[in-house]
Subunit: 339 residues, 2 copies
Amino acid sequence: MNQPENRRFLLIRRPHGTPQPEDFRLETKAIPTAPEGGMVIRNHFISLDPAQRGWMDDAPSYMPPITLGEPVRATTVGIVHESRLPGFVPGQWVLGLNAIEDYSVVLPGGFTSAIDIAIVDRPSRYLSAVGAVGMTAYFGLLEAGQARAGETLVVTGAAGAVGSMVGQIGKIQGMRVIGIAGGPEKCRRLIEDYGFDAAIDYKGKSVAALSADIATAAPGGVDVLFENVGGDVMDAVLLNLALHARIVLCGLISEYNAPDKVGIRNLWQIIVKQATIHGFLIAGYVDRFAEGGAQVAQWIGEGRLRVDEDIQHGIEHSYDAFMRLFSGANTGKLVLQIA
Amino acid sequence: MNQPENRRFLLIRRPHGTPQPEDFRLETKAIPTAPEGGMVIRNHFISLDPAQRGWMDDAPSYMPPITLGEPVRATTVGIVHESRLPGFVPGQWVLGLNAIEDYSVVLPGGFTSAIDIAIVDRPSRYLSAVGAVGMTAYFGLLEAGQARAGETLVVTGAAGAVGSMVGQIGKIQGMRVIGIAGGPEKCRRLIEDYGFDAAIDYKGKSVAALSADIATAAPGGVDVLFENVGGDVMDAVLLNLALHARIVLCGLISEYNAPDKVGIRNLWQIIVKQATIHGFLIAGYVDRFAEGGAQVAQWIGEGRLRVDEDIQHGIEHSYDAFMRLFSGANTGKLVLQIA
């Protein structure tokens, strides 16, 4: 399946709001060679994540913006093509922070980990359940959110890759779990596929109407909010917090493409309920991935945890695949397979 | 100075945005009598606080809304006028949650504490430095904010009653302290009267311009934000957080009178900086008032802490006095003296 050349999905213009096809260009270059102390990776699976939209802006973030003219930064799973780095040999599967391109150069000191694909049904699992997505759900809910049995959990973006895992882990922990998602089909899946106790469709609802639905589903208030969405959906949940609620602020996907953000208007409820908001980045937990990965793998093996992947195909479809994150089209962790 | 009758400052209409004189009415009634197991208090000093604006709305809060036709709820310092409650005798000074009225009925189970006015220069201190205001500054900064020597503290609403104490306590703790306030006179006082390291005037500045000023004053980022204001001022500070910043969310005074709130648009920085927002109500610390009050009284006695009071006079001026909270006119804790 390898290509004789290296196709690269470049960012050539910073998006204003929703990314447009003209913000990107697919170029074809020669396959690179490994630098002294580095490697060349043949990428097979590319992780597509909301965070990439943030990296396209020229704004302060936890990583520098993607340089214009360079390929879009991405976590990938691939095979070592050429190695001048001790400990890595051609043919070996690795996980690393690379880019949307057939071949990535790993410089000395770059982040690359060997992965054991024998314990998973397909290598892309390292981009979902046993990778950053799964660990975000696991450590976000249990550590940042301090989730406890008997409490009420609300998950926004509940049908997404992180959200669906959060809700299921909440059920495993003995919580009452309410998911908020867009559209009846996603809500059906929350109940039937992921075992949520209740599902609320936010589409077409005012903040007041959505708040009323949440109050009905969580009459005792919301103890833990796992927030992936922001905007009006978050504002509606804020009106239903229980005393000393914990909010795990994991993503604000409704705001990434909004140049004129509405903003969060019910933050005063954080004071009223003596609640806490924890800004969550999985980077704070990398040293505990082995522990979390083992627990998640065990739950999957026991059939208690279902993790869906939405695998799209072909680097030439990078733009359309990426936009599935924002259109509400994807179900499960979005992955682009390019080899 | 006692009046033969009981004047009461009633809420007769819920304000939409900025309170109007027509939202209130001063009525005159007979002096009430004490119920079995209760008391009547002659109020002398009335605390005027932003929280009272929130209680005027018909919205979920940590206390029920003020009932229309009833006087505006307020913390007061006064003298027991009649007591049928064991342990309290006429002539004794007390602090309690009552209302803007000459005489308040304390029902059985109501919140009233005996106070020792011998340790303070005037009884109104129990509404400021050694009362809820001072304890908000003390426990908010040191417990919720986990302030540490060598860190950078930003205080918004810095020239206010809480803010000016927070900044001074920060200096006592060995922090670099930056205050944000409205207008050159307030900024002058932050430096000259309260010993802040830097003062920034937010008036007439865009979020971007204010953010740039904060970046200049806090080149290493903001470790602790003590937030009294919200809105654009908070949004500008959010763009300058240090990693693992703590935000003590104490008030959102810029938003209380805004029916079409702009909202907070830079909440994504909470994720990026793995920051935490703590919704702070002093109610969570009432059992530690003796500890905090003793420390604050000691600092005042040592001349290390300056606490200003803005004492207005006459219950007939209740509306004008209350509005000083929102006009930026008051300097120090706002108190209405009615006897």
